[in-house]
Symmetry: C2
Subunit: 519 residues, 2 copies
């Protein structure tokens, strides 16, 4: 970490225009040795202002070199309002906004009125219309469009197919992610290209936004606005579901989906599909649970309550009763990190995308002990078909050591691992949905990215366990709700004062012991 | 399989003395070509008797060689009443009874009256008093006491420390297990030592009793009496808890256990321990959850309802409301088979006992991604301490391939895997206990054998998740309840007619889709 020696991290300069209370985006980005942010920039004369004069130990550290001259082109510009960052255990997700004319075909806006946080973000974006900001924005968009970043960082992925136009905000929203382990290199890249010169504050969420807060503030001179992780998910989903048509979908039994597609009614009320398909052979039915069926956008107030299952490196389970009423009720340490981490050991595969491809052509039954392996047939008394997995990887118990490599291929192991983890997440989600009386379960997170196997399985499993009383749902922007929510919500952080380093705004007493997923 | 060629499997001979209806132990063991079992052996002249004249396709197969002369020492003897067999996915468990004088110190019998199935088994044991049976029994006990069996079969384990005296039955009960994969060799051994000559019927349970039914019947000439798997567990527990003092225990926080030990009251009602120990550091408290505390034998009618979590190769979860009221409500494919199977791949260890030893000295945090790894500190808002596991094996995601072997040792991987699986079983059990409103969770099965790490963890986890409202309990005879129950219950199989091969008595329609653990 080169915090003390950096030469290219400029001091954020004063000069942003005063704004009203509803647009509290600007923040004190400077360190103790830089000029304290003028009150004018904050748009109000709050009694809390004295805390802005942060001490050397509390505030961003002293920067002694690399100051810009006052006629620098970025003077007074803050384009931080276009970014949202979510730094997870394995992936960092970035969203950014680009003001554009509406594309040829504008997706229909939702019927709902503009949500307050979105309204606040919309207002904050007005600041971008200054010439200084335009210049800074152009510089950033050009950089993102260049191949420089992907050349430098193999892990950067532009998800162009996810970009969408927001009529409410008047522009396109773009999606990018990279490996969290590349965070230091990303910061270096940003510094060397002076990309953060015109960024004063940055809406951040995810565990890594705490871990890297110091680096971001010291190396980039950007104030981290930490936004509550759960709230970002809830708000991010709200924004996308109300903006993007066709965002929400599930999977149904192939052949049954046509009858579904045009239904306007809530499928949970009258749906009978699946009921006539008794899982006499689990394999047969589950392998046909592949028909993608879009779910119509529901009025926002009708979306609650739902269970949110966020599958990143680990799993968080949140019960959501309303925009401001949600609670982390459970979780699991068996998540995407377990899949990739364990798979590296048992397949030798070191690329996540390759691993998913491997799993697609594997046969889990080479590794798993099935009911039929134990019983010699179906255990009909309790309805367990002979091809149901009794013990994941159980077949390996009795294989002669020298035969394991021959009897199970890496793709079989990858598949068995993926199915084991997926089933387990589905089960923990289902049991929580029962406990919390929610019939809709939204599965999100990058574990599901390009991972149809898991989406099919979760859809089937939830339908099966709940006797079609619950539905697994997925969202096209599965991994980006944290970043989206951080972007939207950072506009409405009302007490936008810099905090002592290492302290987030959201630090009430610990929740009940039921909440955390690991004792 | 040598069913058609065997030379040493004798025909069970007629001649057992008539018995009353309450002792329906004798069964038709002979094949179609052997003399049909005389009605006298069945002790009653039931209208169902004609079905005893089984056809060649229905009954045990024809045996054409190896017949014994009518004055053979085993003539008329049936010592099947001393055995119970439970063949699981990885281990086969055998219990056998030995009539003895009471040992010096007799453990106090339970206050409860003798349960009906035990009474029936007691009565059935009277048949053993004939000289023929005594001879056959002596032959069997001598064989078990010799080292022949362990020489021939490495996987056989005599669990002498578990043997106990039953005053109700007037003898010792012994416990043995071996690998299910050795089943064919065990049958061969029994045949070559003519050990089954005086066994007509054998109480069996577990998936393997279906899978190996044909082999047992063909190769040994012994009729398999299939007993319902769940019922054996419930009855086995009932028998042991009412017979053996100190059978039931849990683990508590070290230092708190003294206050516990002499309590007669139900600890679940007033126990407050744990409440004052906020898991500010999960590691610190959880690692001290090692004080073994015995639970007093409760009156049998007070044991219900409870959740039974049987951890063998896979996991079965049964809600037990009474001796005849129980239902398999859930399960998981992540069990002991997953631990051993996956561990073979990631540790190279091929012995289960070595694997457990390995796990004891490992450090899971070398493999796991902790909350602190992501957040850089405790995620206090939701009460997640920094040393809580966020993603099992998640650290391996970002390790350079060439470093994985160096940064994580086999013992670290074994430990991380054991903790991952244990936590998951605890979580699934807890969520089911909530759903089914049971405050006592009995964990049984051979996954827990010599596995204190898991017992400690389950005790801690259930206490933690339930805010001390639930208790994990363990039983000394953890892996043997199926075999015990098969032994006891096979005496009371009232319709003890031979069934067509491959058809069990207990085959009602499949249960609700909620039951099975894997969709």
């Amino acid at each position: 970490r080169q915090g003390g020696e950096m030469t290219d991290a400029p001091v954020p300069l004063a000069g942003a225009q005063p704004r009203g209370e509803a647009a509290p985006v600007a923040g004190g980005g400077g360190g103790a040795a830089s000029p304290p942010p003028p009150a004018a920039r904050r748009g109000r004369t709050s009694p809390l202002l004295p805390t802005l004069a942060v001490s050397e130990s509390d505030g961003p550290p002293v920067r002694t070199r690399g100051r810009l001259s006052s006629n620098d082109w970025t003077r007074g510009a803050d384009i931080g309002a276009i970014f949202g960052l979510d730094v997870g255990g394995s992936l960092a997700k970035l969203v950014f906004f680009e003001r554009t004319a509406p594309p040829g075909i504008v997706r229909p806006p939702s019927a709902s009125s503009l949500a307050k946080p979105t309204m606040e973000r919309a207002r904050s974006l007005e600041v971008l219309n200054t010439p200084a900001c335009s210049k800074a924005l152009r510089s950033f968009y050009d950089f993102m469009a260049s191949e420089e970043i992907t050349k430098y960082l193999g892990s950067v992925v532009h998800e162009d197919h996810l970009a969408f136009y927001s009529q409410d905000l008047g522009g396109m929203i773009h999606f990018v992610h990279f490996a969290t382990s590349d965070m230091d290199r990303v910061l270096q890249l940003i510094r060397s290209h002076k990309l953060a010169h015109a960024v004063l504050r940055l809406g951040c969420t995810g565990g890594g936004s705490f871990k890297y807060q110091k680096e971001i503030e010291e190396q980039l001179g950007v104030q981290v606005v930490a936004v509550d992780e759960m709230e970002t998910l809830v708000r991010g989903i709200e924004f996308v579901v109300s903006t993007v048509a066709g965002e929400c979908y599930t999977y149904k039994l192939e052949g049954d989906e046509d009858a579904e597609e045009d239904k306007e009614r809530d499928p949970l009320v009258e749906d009978g599909q699946g009921a006539e398909d008794e899982p006499t052979s689990a394999k047969k039915v589950s392998e046909r649970w592949t028909a993608k069926v879009q779910r119509p956008a529901v009025a926002l107030q009708d979306i609650f309550p739902y269970l949110l299952v966020s599958i990143g490196s680990g799993v968080s389970i949140v019960r959501v009763d309303g925009f401001n009423s949600y609670q982390r009720v459970s979780g699991s340490s068996i998540g995407g990190g377990t899949f990739f981490g364990l798979a590296r050991l048992i397949t030798g595969c070191s690329s996540y995308d390759e691993l998913l491809k491997l799993a697609q052509c594997g046969d889990a039954t080479k590794c798993d002990m099935l009911v039929g392996d134990i019983y010699g047939r179906t255990y009909s008394k309790i309805g367990l078909a002979s091809d149901v997995v009794a013990s994941s990887f159980g077949r390996l118990m009795s294989m002669p050591t020298e035969d394991i490599e021959q009897l199970t291929k890496p793709e079989d192991r990858a598949r068995a691992l993926l199915m084991m983890i997926t089933n387990n997440i589905g089960q923990v989600a289902y049991l929580n949905a029962v406990q919390h009386n929610t019939s809709r379960i939204y599965f999100i997170g990058n574990f599901l990215r390009r991972n149809k196997i898991s989406c099919h399985r979760l859809s089937y499993a939830i339908d099966y366990w709940s006797s079609s009383q619950m539905e697994a749902r997925f969202l096209e922007h599965e991994g980006y709700f944290g970043a989206l929510g951080a972007w939207i919500l950072s506009a409405s952080q009302e007490e936008d004062l810099p905090l002592p380093l290492g302290q987030s705004r959201a630090t009430p007493p610990p929740s009940s012991p039921n909440g955390p997923h690991a004792p």
